[in-house]
């Protein structure tokens, strides 16, 4: 097992995930090595069930690997408990989900404020408003998610992900629930913001056109990267 690379924001070494179900054991990931450098945009492509989302969860420290190790922002995930991992993610890791995952009880601005308040960031409201402006939704600041279209919801989610200025952003099928035109806009926004913030982007998708706009493309098949 090799030591992590100093410049990598996220690295997987010999990563494996095996689950036991009623129908017997199932290997989702096996012997996977991956390194994502600072500011790099990496697309992980693959068919449904190929293990893309599992890999994303492991890289972000949301799940435990059954083999190998994961490093995130210079920390070995296995060395940290649940709260330690949360603290590690706090302010350093952003997420964009396929289902947007905005808190339905909070307005657009309050959704963006949430991670800033969790990290106790000074000038949180100003930062949230800047993020809203950056995604072009200043006028929608007081709207609740249910009052926004799918594209608008995803823009709020992107603003929420970038507002704390993370080192790495994980995006799980960010255009999966959107039409083609809206999807294009979202991708533009994701990549522009990544460039501005200098953050790494790990993008899970099965959309080839979207993958082509990233620095590097990795294909997943049967739990392995090709």
């Amino acid at each position: 097992m090799s030591a992590p690379t100093a410049q990598a924001v996220s690295q997987a070494i010999g990563l494996g995930k095996h689950v036991n179900g009623p129908a017997g054991g199932l290997t989702i990931l096996a012997g996977l090595d991956l390194e994502i450098g600072a500011g790099e945009a990496v697309a992980i492509l693959g068919a449904s069930g190929s293990g893309k989302s599992t890999l994303l969860g492991l890289l972000a420290g949301l799940d435990d690997a059954t083999a190998g190790e994961v490093w995130l922002c210079g920390q070995r995930i296995a060395d940290l408990d649940e709260d330690g991992r949360a603290e590690l993610r706090s302010g350093r890791v952003g997420f964009v989900f396929q289902n947007f995952q905005l808190l339905p009880t909070l307005t657009a601005r309050e959704n963006i404020l949430l991670p800033l308040e969790l990290t106790g960031t000074a000038g949180a409201v100003r930062r949230a408003d800047e993020a809203l402006e950056r995604v072009g939704l200043t006028a929608r600041a007081g709207h609740y998610p249910r009052q926004l279209s799918g594209g608008e919801q995803q823009r709020v989610a992107i603003a929420r992900a970038y507002a704390p200025r993370p080192a790495v952003l994980f995006a799980d099928e960010p255009t999966g629930n959107l039409d083609q035109v809206t999807g294009e806009h979202i991708i533009d926004l994701l990549l522009d913001l990544r460039r501005d913030a200098g953050a790494a982007l790990v993008l899970v998708t099965h959309d080839l056109r979207l993958a082509e706009r990233c620095d590097r493309r990795l294909a997943m098949e049967n739990g392995r990267l090709k």
Partner: protein, 831 residues
């Protein structure tokens, strides 16, 4: 990491409220607190009112009673504390008119008498009653009408009282404090205390009952009690308004028990609603928590935020509940303004503290376990919805709810026996409810396999989510149970209570009936269609030894025991116990020939320390009679039937000289029978207890009304639980219906399957609730209220079918909006 849990808490709380997520939980919590505080405020006032009515029976809030003159310091201290006082002296004497002398019971009173209640006077035999809250002026006496008849005199005539002549000013129809027992009452004469000296009737050795009557606010009365108790002379005792009449105390006690029970039932039902609402809240918050965990919120921060959020929410909801409770009791008091005296005492603020504490305990007990689980939500759920909601530990849920329930029940019940029974009942009911629901859900699953179409879909929906179905049906069951219990208590138990004092309860007692008058009197009553009760022999006797120990009044610390030990008992004998008596220990004698033995009323046995098997020795007619105690009886003092503390077998007292006593009901329009009776049987004394009877009936009626009102809260809690039950499965249903509709299921088919599912759940819940309601009703009637309970078949019909219909309809209507929404929208919302 610097965190701002307060800020996040406040933001989330505000948003929770705006989004409506907390409505159900708030409603359940506010209702719990409102019911507790409304009952708290209301009972505070009702009990004070009832005490005041008790006060009317002794014409004061507190009385010091003594066989010798009372120390002046007593009056001085009561004056100092700001209490109102009046002195009375009561004694037997002979008054004289032209026709001759007559033994009477004289009470000499201060002008301030009565301090509580009013006197009812008449200015002639046929004049209407008028009320007055003052004693007779100097030089005047007010007398009972039978004295006028016995002496053949009228109003305005002089009456010789000792060495002086006093003018008869009015007929005394009713007096709040009739004093003494019901028996041996000669006609009553009320005179002014300042005239007493002129009569020269009272000497140092006279047998006089001196009373110092006191009235004032409850706190001062409570304050002076210990002061007086510490200084009471050996032959004096305190008479509390509540101890004034056992039959009155029994009615007040029952009312209090009903009210406490009503509060507890509301608490239990609302607790179920809180638990269900929390469960739903957790389901709806899971995604948000997963996202927050993803964004880096550590567990301890989330826990702090949740606890703060819960405590803040609990405090706000509890205070709102207190406000509602206050309005609730004020509304009731306003609605019943005609029933209560105008100066109903205001409640204390203690119920607010009790309400807030109850709200917090209920919230922590029922809502914390599911909410604690929220902190355990895996952040991975933000990526994978199939991970579901973390399961709440059943042990933790039960332990927390059990602890909160026990705490609240023991605290609120204020009665260990009641609390234990209720707690055991609730736990037993819960375990059997869950067991029965599981069994029935399995049965529904089996039926689903054999049915078709909408039936299959509906029944399978029940069986598919066993834990959800258990929760839902248990919720419905508790809701329906609350409604049925309401019916049982409202209709059956309260009616049984009212029936315990039937409309034709005896309102006249006849005493001093000589043995040779028994048969002619019976014939006299029969000729006038008066349905008399049995005539019972009555023998006076003083208790001198219990199990070989001398009965010394000074050895009893309990003032009641001391009083009982000093006075003569009215003993009776008979072959059978009185119909409303219940043997609670030992056995009644088999027949008239049984060896000498006693049966003692259990309350007095407890007070005097008499146990089964103890040898009692009474001093009767100049000699000792003795026998063992072979049974203890429970007596319904509020039945107004003739009853005795001590009864003996005929072999023991059958040969002693006795007078007889009976009681009967006489309607108001037939009161002319009484003068006729006194003329035919001059030595027989009729006693009119109508006024006391009316007061007790009033207490019962007011109590019933209060209980019904308090049960309104239970009713709302029951409906809330059912609503929570329907809401509990809404999230699952959203997805299910979206999919089914996408697959081509028509609205009508889905609606029918919903109707089948909810109706089946309603029928099951109704069946279980009916079983529990009847059992609870029976247990409560027999064990707690000592009332006759009869099983009610209509309750079963209404319980089962009404529940099926109600829940079928409500559930279908509540879920209907899911069906009219386009399937994609439904699926998207759930996705």
């Amino acid at each position: 990491m610097t965190t701002q849990p307060w800020r996040i808490t406040l933001r989330l709380l505000r948003q929770d409220w705006r989004s409506g997520e907390l409505y159900l939980l708030s409603a359940a919590l506010i209702l719990t607190v409102a019911s507790i505080t409304a009952v708290g405020f209301f009972t505070d006032r009702v009990e004070a009112t009832m005490d005041r009515q008790g006060s009317e029976l002794i014409a004061a809030d507190l009385a010091v009673e003594s066989s010798s003159s009372l120390p002046d310091t007593f009056q001085a201290e009561s004056d100092r504390m700001g209490l109102v006082s009046a002195r009375t002296l009561e004694f037997r004497s002979v008054v004289v008119a032209d026709r001759g002398p007559q033994l009477v019971q004289i009470k000499a009173v201060d002008p301030a008498y009565p301090l509580r209640g009013q006197l009812r006077l008449r200015d002639g035999f046929d004049s209407p009653d008028r009320t007055i809250a003052a004693g007779p002026p100097a030089g005047e006496v007010w007398v009972e009408s039978r004295l006028l008849r016995l002496l053949d005199i009228g109003i305005g005539d002089p009456l010789g009282v000792g060495d002086t002549q006093l003018r008869i000013g009015a007929i005394l129809s009713d007096e709040p404090a009739q004093g003494g027992g019901f028996f041996n009452l000669a006609p009553r004469v009320l005179m002014n205390r300042t005239d007493l000296e002129a009569t020269q009737l009272i000497g140092p050795a006279s047998r006089v009952t001196h009373r110092l009557l006191l009235a004032g606010d409850a706190r001062t009365i409570a304050d002076i009690k210990p002061w007086l108790t510490a200084r009471l002379p050996p032959n004096a005792s305190l008479v509390d308004a509540r101890e004034a009449r056992p039959e009155f105390a029994a009615a007040v006690d029952r009312a209090a028990r009903f009210l406490r029970l009503a509060t507890l039932v509301t608490l239990l039902v609302a607790g179920a609603a809180i638990a269900l609402a929390s469960h739903r809240l957790v389901e709806r918050q899971t995604d948000a928590v997963a996202v927050m965990r993803c964004l880096g919120a550590p567990r301890h921060l989330l826990m702090r935020v949740f606890v703060l959020r819960l405590v803040l929410f609990g405090l706000i909801a509890s205070l709102l509940g207190c406000l509602l409770g206050w309005l609730g009791q004020a509304g009731l008091v306003a609605a019943l303004s005609g029933w209560f005296p105008s100066d109903l005492p205001s409640p204390s603020l203690a119920p607010i503290l009790v309400g807030v504490a109850t709200g917090m305990i209920a919230l922590l007990g029922f809502a914390v376990p599911p909410l604690v689980q929220l902190a355990k939500v895996s952040p991975l759920r933000a990526l994978r919805r199939d991970l579901g909601t973390p399961r709440t530990s059943a042990a933790l849920t039960l332990a927390a709810a059990g602890l909160a329930l026990s705490l609240l029940i023991f605290w609120q019940a204020d009665n260990f026996a009641l609390a234990w029974k209720l707690l055991a009942g609730v736990l037993g009911a819960l375990v059997s409810l869950i067991g029965a629901v599981l069994l029935l859900v399995r049965l529904a699953g089996g039926l689903a396999g054999r049915s078709r179409g909408v039936w299959r879909l509906g029944l399978a929906a029940l069986a598919r989510r066993p834990s959800g179905a258990v929760l839902q049906i248990a919720g419905f069951g508790i809701g329906i149970l609350a409604l049925l219990l309401l019916a049982v208590v409202r209709v059956d138990l309260l009616r049984a209570w009212q029936d315990s004092l039937p409309v034709n309860a005896p309102n006249y007692f006849l005493i001093n009936i000589q043995p040779h008058e028994v048969e002619p009197l019976r014939a006299f009553l029969r000729e006038r269609d008066i349905d008399e009760n049995e005539l019972y022999p009555m023998i006076r006797g003083r208790l001198i030894r219990i199990a070989g120990r001398e009965v010394k009044p000074t050895e009893y610390e309990n003032p009641r025991a001391e009083r009982l030990a000093t006075r003569e008992f009215n003993l009776s004998y008979g072959e059978k116990p009185q119909p409303d008596n219940r043997i609670v220990a030992g056995d009644w004698w088999p027949d008239a020939k049984a060896p000498p033995q006693f049966s003692v009323e259990q309350g007095i046995a407890e007070t005097l320390g008499i146990k089964l098997g103890d040898e009692l020795v009474f001093w009767v007619s100049g000699h000792e009679v003795s026998g063992p105690v072979t049974s203890l009886r429970e007596v319904k003092w509020d039945s107004f039937n003739v009853n005795f503390f001590v009864s003996a077998s005929p072999a023991l007292l059958g040969n002693e000289p006795a007078t007889f006593i009976t009681s009967f009901h006489l309607s108001a329009d037939r009161e002319s029978v009484i003068p006729e009776l006194t003329r035919r049987f001059p030595s027989v004394t009729p006693l009119d207890v109508d006024a006391i009877l009316k007061q007790v009936r009033q207490v019962i009626d007011r109590g019933v009304l209060a209980v019904e009102y308090v049960f309104l809260f239970t009713l709302i809690a029951g409906l809330l639980v059912m609503y929570a039950g329907i809401q509990a499965s809404l999230e699952d249903r959203r997805v299910e219906h979206g999919i089914l509709r996408t697959l081509g299921a028509g609205r009508r088919a889905l609606l029918s399957s919903l109707a089948v599912e909810f109706t089946a759940a309603g029928l099951l819940a109704g069946l279980l609730a009916s079983v529990f309601a009847e059992t609870t009703g029976w247990l409560l009637a027999e064990q707690l209220f000592e009332l006759e309970f009869s099983f009610n078949p209509t309750l079963w019909l209404i319980g089962v079918f009404g529940s099926g219909l109600l829940i079928g309809l409500a559930g279908t209507l509540a879920t209907y909006p899911l069906l009219i929404r386009p399937p994609l929208q439904t699926l998207r919302r759930a996705g």
